[in-house]
């Protein structure tokens, strides 16, 4: 009887402790939504805690999910900073007035592409890293099939790759939407859709996550996986037999971004994090965490494995236009109707 009661008391105490976390509240805290991979999120937050003494509560979610959450929480925000994840949803959040304008003193230290993106978003977001779109292919699988190594976007629609290309679904993945927008900007809308229809015949599966095709190429589930190049690099560094291709026609890129959520409960700490995250030493953490994007701070060391933008033909990506909700919905609807619904 006593032990039962003791158990009940312990349970009750546990319940209280869970419900009243404020009791032991530190003077400084910050809630961060993190949209890069876990391995990068954690050391980032740990480093910030060490540097400032501010306790960080972090959730890792994909940028789409985070966008959903911020939108749902709009009238009563829970998070303070949204760090990482492809730029489009950040732009969209800026457009929907979900994020706060903030000009960091460190803007001067950043690459031009990052500053330009910040301007386009009225300084409601800022680039923290960039990654170019491309694809990787599995070398043994390619050789087994005796296919010539692909170099361009155009190679992927060859019949040899029938059922051997994997890419994410632009409805669920920012990466795939970047591909859609890139092809449209590269070729013009009508030829772009002809290309996408042709590509559709070679696509074996539209995954839901943007990085999944890199993994599929690494394991050989698919010969080719269209992803951001840094995702492919991660696989290659892990020892996967893949080659990485920056397509010859030129390619689009994403700018991984960071925004302060409007109505942040810890605004001062959010700004501190914002400034800190743009510093060279904070941006060096990515490489240590096997994330091979290009950092936005000019002084940050570039990981040797990272695909250098100098060697890649980049298009002049119009983030404002292709990131807008109206354009996005139009493109996606057209893609759904003309490409996804077509026969293979």
């Amino acid at each position: 009887m006593t032990s039962k009661r003791g158990f009940a008391v312990a349970l009750f105490a546990g319940a209280l402790a869970a419900l009243v976390p404020g009791a032991a509240r530190a003077q400084g805290q910050l809630t961060v939504y993190c949209s890069v991979q876990e391995e990068w999120c954690r050391p980032m937050m740990a480093a910030f805690e060490r540097a400032t003494g501010i306790r960080v509560a972090m959730t890792r979610k994909s940028s789409g999910e985070t966008m959903t959450q911020i939108r749902a929480e709009a009238t009563n925000p829970r998070g303070d900073v949204w760090w990482g994840g492809t730029g489009d949803p950040h732009m969209q959040a800026a457009e929907e007035n979900l994020t706060l304008e903030y000009r960091s003193p460190r803007l001067a230290e950043l690459h031009d592409w990052a500053v330009r993106q910040a301007q386009q978003a009225n300084y409601r977001t800022v680039g923290i890293y960039a990654g170019a779109l491309g694809y990787s292919y599995n070398v043994p699988e390619l050789q087994r099939r005796r296919i010539e190594a692909p170099r361009c976007w155009a190679d992927l629609i060859k019949p040899a790759f029938r059922g051997e290309v994997q890419v994410a679904d632009p409805n669920t993945s920012g990466t795939a939407y970047t591909l859609l927008a890139t092809i449209v900007q590269l070729m013009g809308e009508e030829p772009a859709f002809d290309y996408l229809k042709a590509l559709h015949r070679n696509v074996n599966q539209y995954t839901r996550s943007g990085a999944a095709p890199a993994r599929a190429a690494a394991t050989g589930e698919s010969v080719v996986g269209i992803t951001f190049l840094h995702d492919a690099v991660t696989q290659k560094v892990n020892g996967a037999p893949v080659e990485i291709v920056a397509p010859c026609e030129g390619t689009g890129y994403e700018i991984g971004s960071m925004s302060i959520i409007r109505g942040a409960r810890n605004l001062d700490n959010a700004k501190r994090f914002f400034d800190w995250a743009l510093s060279a030493e904070a941006q060096a953490i990515g490489a240590e965490a096997k994330s091979y994007q290009l950092p936005s701070n000019r002084n940050a060391p570039i990981p040797p494995e990272a695909p250098r933008f100098e060697n890649i033909k980049l298009i002049d990506y119009d983030f404002a236009r292709w990131g807008s909700a109206a354009e996005r919905t139009r493109l996606l609807t057209r893609w759904d109707r003309e490409v996804r619904a077509a026969a293979r």
Binding site: V32, T59, T75, N76, R215, R328
Partner: protein, 725 residues
């Protein structure tokens, strides 16, 4: 309990809520108490803030004089209780965080704003519910029993707030476009091409998502029933002594996070999977991607749901009185004829129940289609991506959710219609002296040919899960032994005390905490509701029962979306707290507790309650000293069920986790999404071990006799397992 004493306790509770805990904000803490953001209402009012809440203490005061004079005036108490509840919610809706929400209130309060209700308000509202119930009891409702009255009114309030209201929220979202009500948009969404397209019949295009869902659910229902039947016949009628193995087989999927099986299937049958490679190397069978899509999802669901069908059918087989079969054989029927003419027809209701269970499980499964679906979309995943995808469209999500709800309700209606006609065979307590007739030989061989390979297959699938956690990368067949994944997840460091460095600790602690808190709440509320529904007669009983069972039919994805839509703004703001996770689990798992409770109560003769009553035992004493001790097995089963399900659920909580309160399953889904299958597998294996320990511990505690064959089989029959996903 008399109305007067309840009214007094309720008034005290309301007064406490008025005077002590912070009025606003569930997580505001006591740092600035009794001022600042932790101020109780009394302090706020005294300071001139929130003056629109003055009616609340005044109404409460109005109920006090007669209570102090030892009188419980029904009408007055009802008016006071209802008045306080109505006023608190009306002002809460009218004046929100961003300011005055209802323009009608603007001239009176100006541009006032207030955060969401907190613990003070919770106590006050509880007190108000108490006053209301005491008033009803004083008027002679609920046989004048204030305790019963409080339970009914209180649980109805909870069910309306946390089951019914969120559902209404999401339904109304389906009819809203660009912020206004648009029935034509709703109609368009409900009849959308993406849902109903029949293109796959005539061309190579994919069909509508409704057809996909239906096809998958039907296949899963039929095949899991057949497999389950093979196992049930073997274990009940063939003298193979396989009880232990079958039990293990039955328990494993119950404690496995729903998508883990999918990971293992990819490792085995993916295009570079082990089996695929072997077949290709040995026989030159071309390696294909068949696992991604309908076949893969079907296989994963069969692995997950067959054991449930088995448990259900095993009970059904054992319930067939051997004397019936003996009667048939004494009339000269041969074994197979006996089986065909007696056993099989008696099994049919069980088969129907098993089919419908598999069907409903499949409808609401989210994890497996997410991981293995490929291009094959079902409603559950489509809803998720309509909310979380790149194209955020809550209206479309809500409409799809309506379609899914329609399918589930349809299945349940079918089940009710079927089971309503069935005459339940009750165990009379008189031993049936007969010996069950063994299976006809041909049938036994057929069952064995299906069951044993399937068991071996299940064993391999689980072996992969365990193996994958200890090797570098099982997906790429890199089989070097490593502790790496466990270290990533569960690293512990000694640095001025124990530091939990591993990536998984936070979510694991939260998960265990949330599960451990929600399980007793679920069991408690479930058993109390069962007792109300089975033992008390009161107006609205059927409505209460419907509300209590409703959440069972709502797929998790729908629940998650509806909660985040309903509980993000004052006056009820719960998002981002661990409370919302607890509430979500309590109300999702509640129906199982209720059904288990009702089934257990059906075994307890009503005259026991009445005997206690005639000896002067009130409702409370009877419940505590007679009913609850007799329901111990049901209570423990409900505890175990809700604990395990709180640890394995994904679909609802994926919307509800927050920075501070993340859950293990959601974390694992994230790892899968990022392609870190090994880490996901390592974490899953730990979860499985924890739940195994819990289930076995309970098994030990209650004794095999109860949790073994009878309890789960019986419980499952009445309380079909899980809509986990």
């Amino acid at each position: 309990m008399g109305a007067l004493s309840l009214a007094r306790i309720a008034l005290a509770c309301a007064a406490f809520g008025l005077l002590i805990p912070p009025w606003y904000g569930l997580e505001s803490g006591f740092a600035s108490w009794p001022g600042g953001e932790a101020a109780p209402l009394a302090v706020l009012l005294a300071g001139g803030a929130a003056w629109w809440l003055w009616p609340v203490p005044l109404i409460l005061l109005a109920s006090a004089p007669s209570l102090l004079a030892h009188r419980a005036e029904g009408r007055l108490l009802i008016a006071c209780g209802a008045g306080v509840i109505a006023w608190v919610f009306l002002q809460g809706w009218a004046i929100g965080l961003p300011g005055t929400v209802w323009s009608i209130a603007a001239p009176f309060v100006g541009d006032a704003s207030q955060p969401a209700l907190g613990w003070g308000a919770t106590f006050l509202l509880t007190g108000a519910v108490g006053l209301l119930s005491a008033g009803l009891a004083a008027q002679g409702r609920f046989n004048g029993d204030a305790f019963v009255s409080f339970l009914v009114v209180g649980s109805a309030a909870l069910l309306i707030a946390f089951v019914f209201a969120p559902l209404l929220t999401i339904l109304s979202a389906a009819a809203v476009e660009d912020g206004r009500i648009a029935p034509e948009a709703m109609l368009a969404r409900l009849t959308a091409h993406e849902a109903w397209s029949l293109a796959c019949v005539t061309s190579s295009l994919g069909c509508g998502v409704v057809w996909n869902t239906l096809a998958l659910a039907t296949l899963t229902g039929v095949l899991s029933t057949l497999l389950g039947l093979a196992f049930a016949l073997l274990s009940a009628r063939a003298n193979l002594h396989l009880g232990g193995a079958f039990r293990a087989l039955a328990i494993l999927p119950l404690i496995t996070p729903p998508f883990v099986v999918s990971l293992s299937l990819i490792v085995l049958f993916g295009r570079t999977g082990m089996v695929t490679e072997a077949l290709s190397a040995l026989f030159g069978i071309p390696r294909s991607r068949w696992i991604y899509g309908l076949p893969g999802v079907l296989l994963a669901q069969l692995l997950a749901f067959t054991p449930i069908a088995y448990l259900l059918l095993e009970g059904a087989v054992r319930q067939i009185a051997p004397s019936l079969e003996e009667a048939a054989s004494t009339m000269g029927a041969r074994r197979f004829t006996v089986f065909r003419t007696v056993t099989w027809p008696l099994l049919r209701p069980g088969l129907a129940a098993a089919f419908l269970l598999g069907f409903v499980e499949s409808l609401s499964d989210f994890g497996n289609p997410l991981v293995l679906g490929g291009d094959f979309d079902v409603l559950a995943t489509r809803i998720f991506f309509a909310i979380a995808g790149a194209r955020h469209d809550p209206g479309r999500a809500a409409a799809l959710a309506l379609l899914l709800l329609g399918l589930t309700f349809g299945a349940f209606a079918l089940q009710t219609a079927w089971l309503g006609k069935r005459r339940y065979v009750t165990v009379t307590g008189k031993g049936d002296a007969g010996v069950p007739s063994p299976l006809p030989r041909g049938l036994a061989i057929a069952c064995g040919a299906v069951a044993f390979p399937w068991m071996a297959f299940t064993a391999i699938v689980y072996a992969i899960i365990m193996l994958g956690a200890f090797v570098h990368d099982i997906g790429r067949s890199d089989m070097t032994f490593t502790w790496r994944h466990y270290i990533t997840a569960f690293e512990v460091e000694w640095f001025q005390g124990l530091v939990f460095r591993g990536a998984a600790w936070d979510s694991l602690f939260t998960t265990i905490e949330v599960a451990a808190i929600s399980a007793p709440l679920t069991a408690g509320l479930g058993i109390l509701l069962a007792w109300l529904l089975a033992r008390q007669a009161f107006p609205g009983r059927r409505t209460l029962e419907f509300l209590a069972m409703l959440s069972f039919a709502i797929p998790g994805t729908v629940v998650g979306v509806s909660y985040i839509m309903a509980f993000n703004v004052p006056p009820l703001e719960l998002t981002g707290t661990s409370l919302i996770l607890i509430i979500c689990f309590v109300f999702r798992n509640l129906p199982v507790g209720v059904r288990g409770g009702i089934a257990a109560l059906a075994q307890i003769d009503r005259s026991l309650d009445e005997a206690s009553a005639t000896m002067g035992g009130g409702a409370v004493a009877t419940l505590r000293r007679v009913i609850l001790p007799l329901m111990r097995p049901a209570i423990i089963a409900a505890l175990a069920y809700s604990f395990v399900h709180a640890m394995t659920a994904v679909s609802a909580v994926i919307f509800l986790v927050s920075a501070r309160h993340n859950l293990a399953t959601v974390y694992i889904v994230g790892r899968v999404e990022a392609g870190e299958i090994a880490l996901a597998i390592a974490y899953s294996s730990v979860l499985i071990l924890i739940m195994l320990a819990v289930v076995l511990g309970i098994d030990k505690l209650v004794g095999r006799a109860q949790i073994g064959r009878r309890a789960p089989a019986g419980a499952m029959q009445t309380a079909p397992v899980p809509v986990t996903a």
